[in-house]
Structures are given as structure tokens and as C-alpha cells.
């Protein structure tokens, strides 16, 4: 085996039940490079890396590390081989300090097994300075930002002597500036002789940071390209990832906004622990425009939406739809006032997974005269409704009227939710992270649906953590930070750096 490869995975296959997640995938990662693993959601990227990290066992194939055959049966073995992995969801103890978290499982001790924190802190400082990740070893995890937590995870791996670092979707939780910092850190790591593998579906970052990129699609190996090569750009990568030409940027006509139909004035909302999350927030949406709320997760978006949908009570302020106050009224009243919502968590709020598609499509309008006369459901109308919507929104499989929502793919489940909510023809459509976990084709569909709604002269409120989505789809951007709107921007006159700065709490000159 070629010793230039830090990691070499040969025709790896993996089954989950009857589903073949990986089908003979190859991955060769040169030493001292940043290697991107690109694929859509569900393509098998994470599965492949989990095999490398010993979380899963491959059903077929071999792994070579530094040219030698390796048998990685669990993460402990992987760590011994010098592999470290930072998961998308961090695995940290919330009320431990950073130093405690980093040494967890590999504590250095003085005599009589007394933990020697000073040594650990010294080491953290040293590593931090070397790779540009300065953290305060005494701070508790629950008190530090998400990007710091990520640094802690990386430091934890390095502390354990990782030579090859796997980062699973590391940029999903970061602002643009923090992403730049992370890329900087990755370069420092490779200069120091380490190897970095990043799992991602963000093309821009690959172009910006990676040396090589391996593309997998639906569990199949597609290609490995040198990112520095001519002809490798976002479009060519996207094409390989999806398997067909895709439009990365949505085409839309300029918005023709009319009167204000929706307003939030001085809204205050507490979270379940009684902490103020939305602080004196005001915004408005006009008919015929898409207002995008940009912000990093955890800046009050969830509480804003909960108050807006009636799931939680606001502590102050007003929510007005067409001049009518609806704050602190139950969800059905808010719906009756023509606010429809595509929820962030479609499994929890959007669908009843054990109901069939017919039932899911009338979940909030089962009592409407069309579907029921006072007491009894009109089964035929309910079925016809489903049939029409399945056709109109191209929900697949095409005859899924009586299939359980559980049996549909994520994209089609989302289409069911969107079909139901848009069919209400609401004055205001609220879409929260509407493309989360969807593949490129489905994302295109969702964006087009939102724009179509706008073109019909309706108001749309889009809340998303994906800055690209906000910039692409919105007609106006409000940035939320720490429960307040900190900027009102025109997407055609701003850029992601400016928005990113606001998202991180900075100010624009």
C-alpha cells in the first residue's frame, strides 16, 4: 500500500437492514492535506467516517492506515491509531470546565491519583497557541459559545494525540467569520503534519479550504478531484454530487412589496427555564415579500416561532396580522387568522408519523366544511384532497394516499407539510429551516414554493440558520442576535461578511 496515504479505505460496503448505505466506496487521503468528503444528506458520508472511527463495522472492504492494514473495531482502537473525530453534535459534559472535558478519559494525575489540572491547562494553552484555538480552560462548557465548544472538541482529539482529524459538518453551527478561523486552524494543522478530513455538503467551503475532494452519491463512489485543478468549481462539484445539472442560485423576479400585513412590536419571550430569549423584538413583513431572519441557532429564533404560533406565551409586546392582535392566543386562533407555519421539526410538529398522508394533509383543517359536516369526516373529500395535493406537489410515491407518513423520505415528508400549509393560502407563511436535511432537488422545490407564494402577493417569513439560503431567497434580511433584530438589510446590497458580522453580535460601520 502507498505510504503517502494517511487513510486508505478500499471498496467499503455497509448495510443497514435491507438498505445498502455504502456500495464499494474508496477513499484515499494523502498525508498533510485537507480532504473534503462531499455528498448530499444520506449519501453515506457520515457512515463512511463512522466506519473509519470504529463506530460501525464495514460489511465489506479494508482500511489501511499509513499503508498498513488496520482493523478498527471500536473508537478506542481508532484513537490508538491516532484518529480523532468531532461529531456534528458535540459530546461534551455541559457543567464541566473546558479543561475537565479535554482530559476526560485521559486524566493526568499526581501522586495518590490527584488530578493534575495545571499540566492539562498548560498543554491546552500550548496546543491552542500552536493552532489558533485559544480557550479558557476554567470556563464551563455551558457558558461558552458553540464555536468555542467546537474548539474544545478539536483540542480534545489533539490532546489524545490525533494525527488524522475527522470533522463532521463543522461549519453548520458557525458564522462566516468563525468559518474562516476554522479554515485557518485546519491549515495550521496540516502544516504541522496532521491530516484533516471534513464531511460537508457546502461547496463554497470546499473550494476555499480543501486540497482534495471525494464525492459520494447514494452510497456510491463518484470521483476524487484535486480542488486546485482548473475546471473544478462549485458547479462541477454540485453536478457530481447530485448527478445532474443544478441551479445553485434561484432565479426570481424583484419583489413587489405592498402594505404591511404582519408586525411584531416589542416582543418579549422567555424559554422554559424562565430566561428571556426574545428581548424587545420588533419586525414587520409586507405583502409580496420574503423577509429572511438570519441568525445563529439559539439566538431566540425558537422562542420567537413558539410565540408566533401560539405554542408559548409572550411576556410582552404585540403580534399583529392585518392589524389584528393575536399574541397569546391559542394555535387554532392564530391559524384562523391566516398565519400558516412550516415548522422546523417536521417529525415533532409537522406530521403525525403514524397517520396516513390523507390524514396528515388535513391535520389542521379536519373540521372545515369541506372535510367534515359537524361530526363526521367526509372520507371521500379527504381522499380527493390528498390525491390532488400529491399530484400538485409531486409527492412520491404517487399513490401514497394511504401510506403512513413515516414511510416517506424526508423530502417527501416535507412536501406533505408544505402542501398542507401552502394550500391554506395564508396571508403570512412562516417557514422555519424549511430545507433542513433535504437534498438539493428538494431544496430547489421548497425555495420555488416560497417564491411562488410571494409572487401571489402573500407575505413570507423565512427563518434559517443557512446564510446562503437567506441571501438567495429573501427580499429583505433581518439579523437576529441575542433576541433582538440587529440589522435590516437589502440582500442585493449586502454580503455574507456583513451579515455574518451582525450574526456574531458585531456592528457594521
Amino acid at each position: 500500500m502507498d505510504e503517502n496515504y494517511a487513510v486508505s479505505m478500499k471498496s467499503i460496503s455497509k448495510f443497514f437492514g435491507t438498505f445498502k448505505a455504502l456500495n464499494g466506496v474508496n477513499l484515499n487521503v494523502r498525508k498533510k492535506t485537507i480532504h473534503a468528503l462531499l455528498g448530499e444528506n444520506g449519501a453515506g458520508k457520515s457512515t463512511l467516517m463512522n466506519i473509519l472511527y470504529g463506530l460501525y463495522e464495514a460489511d465489506e472492504g479494508e482500511i489501511y492506515l499509513d499503508g498498513k492494514l488496520a482493523y478498527i473495531k471500536n473508537p478506542n482502537v481508532a484513537i490508538k491509531y491516532g484518529i480523532g473525530m468531532v461529531h456534528q453534535h458535540f459530546m461534551l459534559v455541559e457543567n464541566f470546565t473546558i479543561a475537565q472535558n479535554i482530559m476526560l478519559g485521559k486524566e493526568s494525575v499526581k501522586a495518590f491519583d490527584v488530578i493534575d489540572t495545571a499540566v492539562v491547562k498548560e498543554k491546552i494553552k500550548e496546543l491552542g497557541e500552536k493552532y489558533g484555538m485559544i480557550v479558557d480552560g476554567d470556563a464551563k462548557i455551558c457558558d461558552v459559545s458553540v464555536s468555542t465548544q467546537q474548539k474544545v472538541e478539536i483540542l480534545k482529539s489533539l490532546y489524545r494525540g490525533a494525527q488524522t482529524l475527522i470533522l463532521d459538518e463543522p461549519t453548520a453551527v458557525l458564522t462566516p467569520n468563525e468559518i474562516d478561523e476554522l479554515i485557518d486552524t485546519m491549515h495550521k494543522l496540516t502544516q504541522d503534519g496532521k491530516t484533516v478530513i471534513i464531511i460537508t455538503h457546502k461547496l463554497k467551503e470546499i473550494i476555499k479550504s480543501a486540497d482534495y475532494c471525494t464525492i459520494i452519491r447514494r452510497g456510491n463512489y463518484i470521483d476524487t478531484v484535486d480542488v486546485k485543478d482548473k475546471g473544478v468549481d462549485e458547479y462541477s462539484l454540485a453536478k457530481m454530487m447530485v448527478g445532474r445539472d443544478v441551479s445553485l442560485h434561484i432565479s426570481k423576479t424583484p419583489a413587489q412589496p405592498k402594505e404591511r400585513v404582519f408586525e411584531i412590536c416589542d416582543l418579549w419571550v422567555k424559554d422554559s427555564r424562565g430566561i428571556d430569549r426574545v428581548k424587545n423584538l420588533s419586525l414587520n413583513v409586507r405583502a409580496g415579500e420574503i423577509l429572511g431572519i438570519a441568525g445563529i441557532d439559539g439566538n431566540g429564533q425558537s422562542e420567537l416561532i413558539e410565540a408566533l404560533t401560539g405554542l408559548t406565551k409572550a411576556d410582552g409586546g404585540k403580534i399583529l396580522i392585518k392589524g389584528k392582535q393575536v399574541q397569546n392566543t391559542p394555535p387554532h386562533n392564530i391559524r384562523a387568522n391566516s398565519i400558516a407555519t412550516i415548522p422546523e421539526d417536521r417529525h415533532k410538529y409537522g406530521l403525525v408519523l403514524d397517520f396516513d398522508i390523507c390524514e396528515n394533509l388535513i391535520l389542521e383543517k379536519y373540521a372545515a366544511p369541506k372535510f367534515a359536516d359537524r361530526l363526521l369526516l367526509k372520507l371521500k373529500n379527504i381522499f380527493d384532497n390528498a390525491k390532488t395535493l400529491i399530484h400538485k406537489f409531486d409527492i412520491r410515491p404517487a399513490d401514497c394516499e394511504h401510506s403512513l407518513a413515516r414511510s416517506l423520505s424526508g423530502g417527501n415528508q416535507q412536501k406533505v407539510v408544505i402542501a398542507r400549509e401552502i394550500e391554506n393560502d395564508p396571508v403570512l407563511l412562516v417557514a422555519v429551516q424549511p430545507t433542513r436535511g433535504l437534498d438539493v432537488g428538494a431544496i430547489e422545490f421548497v425555495h420555488k414554493s416560497l417564491i411562488a407564494q410571494r409572487d401571489k402577493g402573500k407575505a413570507v417569513l423565512l427563518v434559517s440558520f443557512e446564510l446562503d439560503e437567506i441571501l438567495d431567497v429573501s427580499d429583505r434580511i433581518n439579523v437576529i442576535y441575542d433576541g433582538k433584530i440587529v440589522g435590516d438589510l437589502d440582500p442585493s446590497k449586502t454580503n455574507e461578511n456583513e451579515v455574518g458580522l451582525l450574526m456574531a453580535g458585531g456592528s457594521v460601520k
Binding site: 448495510f15 437492514g17 394555535p331 415533532k348 410538529y349 403525525v352 390524514e359 379536519y366
Partner: protein, 390 residues
């Protein structure tokens, strides 16, 4: 071959049948270990169930209360609630029936109707308490209904301790008045014509020897009505949504709180009706001092479980459960096996049926293994052909 097994395992009905067979096998070994000839015992049991028309009719009669409590549990479950309180609600039904059946004086037909409505009301309110506690204070309904079971039991005993309620020299209340009875032909059966009819019609007459009552037909109606209510009405749709995904239901504008109280009211009413049927329809036409619960509510849990909480299926599972209990009694009488052994056997059968969910899982596992094998074979072929090409 494997395909066929997979297909069979995936069907819920075949899974239940297999579970029954496995259950009987386990019961077989239980009997064997206890030192009884299992063939003989099962023979006695089957005989005890089907030998005479009378037995069948008795099984159906015995099934009435447990179908009603099973229906209560299933209804609550479909609404997202675990109603352990069917026992207590059942007791409330028996108290209502026994008291109103004796102290209230009304013409026939009207008398039982009034009692049934009252039983629905009191049982419903009693059930709704648990729903209200959950909504208001977040008390888990499992805890509150268990407590309410004891409250019902001691309420029963307290009422019987009121001077004049207990019939002299007994531990029971007075029998209900004939006007309140739901029994069929009970007067006529004692007349000479009745007796001669029973004796001259071996099958029909044998049926008539048991306490057949209107409750049997009402149970059928309620089973169907409960199914219809859940599956075909808007209120049923609300309840099922709340049961299957409360978050999504709330998000869609359905009130969880109102529906929780309502669901517990209906569940309580159904179980109480079971109690009322028992008092008004069978020869247990009174309430007695209870030291422990009678177990109709607990049996209802098994019935609902066996029926996979499908209202229509509670009918079949109620009959099966009642049949096993009744037939099991014959093992006791004909072979002298203690009732504990029979209960273990019944328990084993119910337990196996409860594991039905396992069979589709086994099916998935089997088909996964099969796919993997096929795929590997294909890979081997590829390698072999490559090797040949070289």
C-alpha cells in the same frame, strides 16, 4: 422459502396466530413441569370451552365486562393515555347500578336506561378526574388512576357500611329490582312453557340456561361505535392526533388539554358500563364488600393489549381471554390442577401475544440477511469472472 417466511411474519394476523401457538407451547411446558399431562389438560380446556352450547354462551357473557374495560383501555391508549384505572371505573359502574337498581323505582325498560346513563356519567367523571389532574398539575395518569382504583374500592366498601345498605346477614347490598334487570327471558324461563322449550330445544335451550342479557348486544354496539367514533368523526380525529403526536396536534391547533379530559371521560364511561352490565345483566346483581379488586379492569388491560388497541379487535381478544379463563376452569375441575398453574398458562399465552411486535422485526432481520447474502454472492461472481478474464 425465506421470502415466504418473511411475508408471513410481516402480516399482523399471522404474527398473532404464531404468538398464540408459541403461548400454548409455553403453557404446555408449564403444565408438564407442574406434573400434569398437557394433552389431557388442553383437551379438558377445549372441552370446557366448546362441549356444550351453554359453555359458549357463558364465555360470551363473561367476556362482556372485560371487553368493555378493554375498550376503555384501548380508547384511552389511542388518545395517548394509559388508563390503568379501568378497574376503579368499573367498580363505580357496579356501585351506580346496584344502588340505582334498588333505590330508584322506575318502569321496566326505562329503569335500566336511566341506570346506564347514570353509570356513564359517574364513571366518566371518575375517569375524567385523572385527565383533569394530568392537565392541571401534570400528574401522570398511570399514578393517579392506580390511586383512584383504591378510592373506588373503598368507596364501594364505605357505601356498604352505611346502615341499611347491606342486606341482613350478608356482605352484600340488596339485589336490584326486577324492573332494572337487563336479563332476557328470566321470568319466562321459569314458567312451564319456558321450561319445556328449554328441554325440547337442545341447542337453543342450552343457550338460554345461562344469564343471557341485553348487555351482550350493547357490547357489540359499543365496540363498533367506539371504532366508528375514533376513525370516522372529527372528535375521534382530534383524539387520535393527540394520541399519536401531541406536539403536532397542538401545532395544528388541537387542544391537548380538552381532549385529555374528554378521552378519560369516555374511557371511564366505557369501563363503568361494563360494571353496570355485569350488575344489571348477570346473577351478580348486587355489590359486595371487596378486599381486593375483582380484576376486570386488569383483564381489560390484557384484552386491549391483545387487540393492539384496536376497538374492533377487543371483541375477539375479549372472547379469547374469557374462553381461556372459562376453559381453564375445566382443567381445574377435571384434573385438580391448581388455578395458579392455569393462570400461569394464560399469562404465558398473553405474554407471547404481547410480543407480536417482535415478528415483523424478525422478518426485517431475515430479509436483511438475505439481501446481504445475495449481494455477497454477486460480488464473488464478479471477482471470479475478473479472475477468469486475467
Amino acid at each position: 422459502m425465506i421470502d415466504k417466511i418473511i411475508e408471513i411474519l410481516k402480516k399482523p394476523i399471522s404474527a398473532i396466530i404464531i404468538a398464540l401457538i408459541v403461548g400454548f407451547l409455553v403453557g404446555f411446558f408449564v403444565l408438564l413441569i407442574a406434573g400434569y399431562n398437557p394433552f389431557e389438560a388442553y383437551g379438558a380446556m377445549i372441552g370446557g370451552m366448546f362441549d356444550r352450547p351453554k359453555y359458549i354462551s357463558q364465555i360470551i357473557i363473561n367476556a362482556v365486562p372485560i371487553i368493555m374495560t378493554g375498550l376503555s383501555v384501548a380508547f384511552a391508549y389511542r388518545s395517548g393515555l394509559f388508563n390503568i384505572g379501568a378497574e376503579g371505573q368499573y367498580i363505580i359502574g357496579t356501585i351506580t347500578a346496584a344502588m340505582l337498581g334498588y333505590y330508584l323505582h322506575l318502569p321496566i325498560i326505562i329503569h335500566p336506561i336511566v341506570i346506564l346513563i347514570a353509570a356513564c356519567f359517574f364513571g366518566g367523571v371518575f375517569g375524567a378526574i385523572a385527565g383533569w389532574l394530568k392537565v392541571k398539575y401534570g400528574t401522570n395518569e398511570v399514578v393517579s388512576t392506580i390511586m383512584l382504583n383504591w378510592i373506588a374500592l373503598y368507596l364501594n366498601n364505605t357505601i356498604l357500611s352505611i346502615p341499611g345498605v347491606q342486606k341482613g346477614g350478608t356482605q352484600a347490598s340488596y339485589d336490584i329490582l326486577p324492573s332494572a334487570s337487563m336479563r332476557l327471558f328470566s321470568q319466562w324461563k321459569t314458567t312451564p312453557e319456558g321450561l319445556s322449550f328449554i328441554n325440547s330445544h337442545p341447542i337453543l335451550g342450552d343457550f338460554l340456561r345461562t344469564d343471557i342479557h341485553i348487555g351482550i348486544i350493547l357490547t357489540l354496539i359499543f365496540v363498533f361505535a367506539t371504532w366508528f367514533f375514533l376513525m370516522r368523526t372529527t372528535k375521534g380525529f382530534e383524539l387520535r392526533s393527540v394520541g399519536a403526536n401531541p406536539s403536532a396536534a397542538e401545532f395544528a391547533g388541537i387542544s391537548i388539554k380538552k381532549n385529555t379530559v374528554f378521552a378519560m371521560f369516555i374511557a371511564g364511561a366505557l369501563a363503568a358500563l361494563g360494571g353496570a352490565f355485569q350488575v344489571l345483566g348477570t346473577s351478580n346483581s348486587r355489590i359486595v364488600v371487596l378486599s381486593i379488586t375483582e380484576g376486570f379492569g386488569w383483564d381489560g388491560l390484557s384484552v386491549a393489549l391483545l387487540a393492539n388497541n384496536n376497538p374492533l379487535a377487543t371483541l375477539l381478544s375479549g372472547w379469547l381471554f374469557s374462553g381461556l379463563k372459562f376453559g381453564g376452569g375445566s382443567i381445574q375441575s377435571s384434573m385438580g390442577a391448581p388455578s395458579e398453574i392455569i393462570n400461569i398458562m394464560i399469562g404465558a399465552i398473553v405474554f407471547c401475544v404481547a410480543l407480536v411486535a417482535m415478528f415483523p422485526m424478525i422478518a426485517t432481520k431475515l430479509s436483511a440477511m438475505k439481501m446481504k447474502k445475495e449481494w455477497q454472492a454477486k460480488q464473488d461472481d464478479k471477482l471470479a469472472s475478473k479472475g477468469a478474464a486475467k
